[in-house]
């Protein structure tokens, strides 16, 4: 099976600042693929280069299929209504909107509301509906749940899963590890303009290894220490506290979270 997207040695600079320094990755057909990174890592730049919204300096991008794009920051004329926008974009792309999808996205409920009166969640649903008017094979979602409340996030996650079930390839940019864990088949972590990790969420979890957080609480303070060797570290910490004459009131030991690990990779630590 062909890859839906293949990126080879992609570079992009803004002036003297190199944002992408030779990216290489592929997205398989039918998977949900996440591009992760801290703010400013180059997620949106990468997506916009693939989407054709931004020119890149060198490298190659191969896309197999029609693209539908939901942008991170998007807008429409103030007085346009949801169904009018869907109809305009569908007519322009010579497609007819799928009633079931529009219903699932709740577009009919919004049909009489002008764009400026829609909430953030409603606007995101509308822009997803607009991205679907091209009947795309590959769907780009840039920070799809940013600014949404919990209910809105759950609803959008469900819609993304349904789109995957329909055979669509979905690429999402996010900095929300919890969202990625729930939704994605594979992830790529961007750091310093390069891919620092690519693989499944489970594979990312495996790289955590024997990493522990030790939280020690005394009457005056609470401190958390990171450790690779729990036995030695704990013994050493207990001795330090004893030497200082501090009375320990509680100790907690836990494995580092995937999110902490992601942040470390993303920051290139």
């Amino acid at each position: 099976m062909n890859d839906a997207i293949n990126i080879c040695n992609l570079t992009k600079s803004y002036g003297t600042h190199a944002v992408l320094k030779g990216l290489n990755f592929c997205v398989r057909q039918g998977e949900i693929f996440a591009l992760l990174g801290i703010n400013g890592a180059g997620k949106t730049t990468t997506l916009e280069c693939i989407e054709g919204l931004r020119k890149y300096d060198s490298g190659s991008i191969t896309i197999n299929g029609i693209m539908g794009i939901q942008l991170q920051s998007a807008s429409l004329p103030k007085y346009i209504r949801a169904l009018e926008a869907v109809k305009l974009f569908a007519k322009w792309n010579k497609t007819s909107p799928d009633r079931a999808t529009l219903d699932a996205l709740g577009i009919y409920e919004l049909s009489e509301k002008p764009y400026y009166q829609l909430s953030t969640g409603q606007k995101r649903r509308l822009h997803l509906a607009l991205a679907l008017t091209r009947n795309p094979d590959i769907l780009f979602l840039d920070e799809p749940t940013a600014g949404l409340d919990v209910e809105g996030q759950i609803s959008l996650h469900e819609q993304i899963r349904q789109l995957k079930a329909m055979g669509k390839t979905i690429i999402l940019a996010s900095h929300d590890m919890a969202e990625v864990e729930k939704l994605c088949d594979r992830i790529a972590v961007l750091s310093g303009g390069k891919i620092a990790f690519i693989g499944t969420v489970d594979e990312l979890g495996e790289t955590i290894g024997k990493h522990y957080n030790i939280t020690i609480q005394t009457e005056n303070r609470t401190e958390t220490y990171e450790s690779e060797n729990i036995g030695t570290s704990l013994l050493s910490l207990l001795m330090q506290y004893k030497e200082k004459g501090e009375t320990i009131t509680d100790i907690k030991i836990d494995r580092g979270s995937l999110e902490q690990h992601f942040i470390k990779i993303a920051k290139g630590e």
Partner: protein
Amino acid sequence: MGAFLYGVFLQWKLDIRSKTLLITCYIVPLLFFVIMGGIFTSVMPEARYTLIQSMTVFGVTMGALIGLPPSLVEIYSSDIKKVYKANGVPLYLGLALTNISAYIHLFLMSMILYIAAPLVFHAEIPENPGRYFISLAVFIAVSLSIASIIGLAVKDQAKTSMFSIIIFIPSTMLSGIMFPMELLPKAFGTIGKLFPASWGYKLMTENVFKFEHFLPFLFIFVLAAVMCNILLRKVDN
């Protein structure tokens, strides 16, 4: 073609919902007509011979220069243009739809003036209505082309209003609709000739077609079309 026509129809409806265009294309020009029409025809009874033309020049200039640019700024200086591009809608569509819609609104407003002026102020209907409407059609197109440059070149609404007013005031004051051109100081008369309103007024009040009065329109329109093309490419990049 169906998509384009739907776009025109939709934009026309959006313009009606937007109070800006309703005010600049209908309410202010018609209010101006009621007040100034009354004053002009009572102070100078001969004004009834050119009342339709002068009120139309004011209305079209106002509707085009002050009404259109905000719609263009809304599209081209915001994320709307990215949404258009990302979803396969060409960038020129916003410019084309807003222009066609504004054209229809301005033509309708001009028709209202054409019908109402003789009834309310006994204004004289142009001798050759066919030539009048062709001149009007050209004048609206040229006024909108200048408004398009403002809407594409200026990036925020406040500055757009400022630029629009800077062009609107001399356009109307020095066009000959308020004071006859021959009474204006020579320098002001020359400045007036830089704006399409003075040529529009000339073209619409003439009994015979003079090609030399049509030429400035052609020049301004071609120049504006080239500039709009350059500005659109700039937006695209």
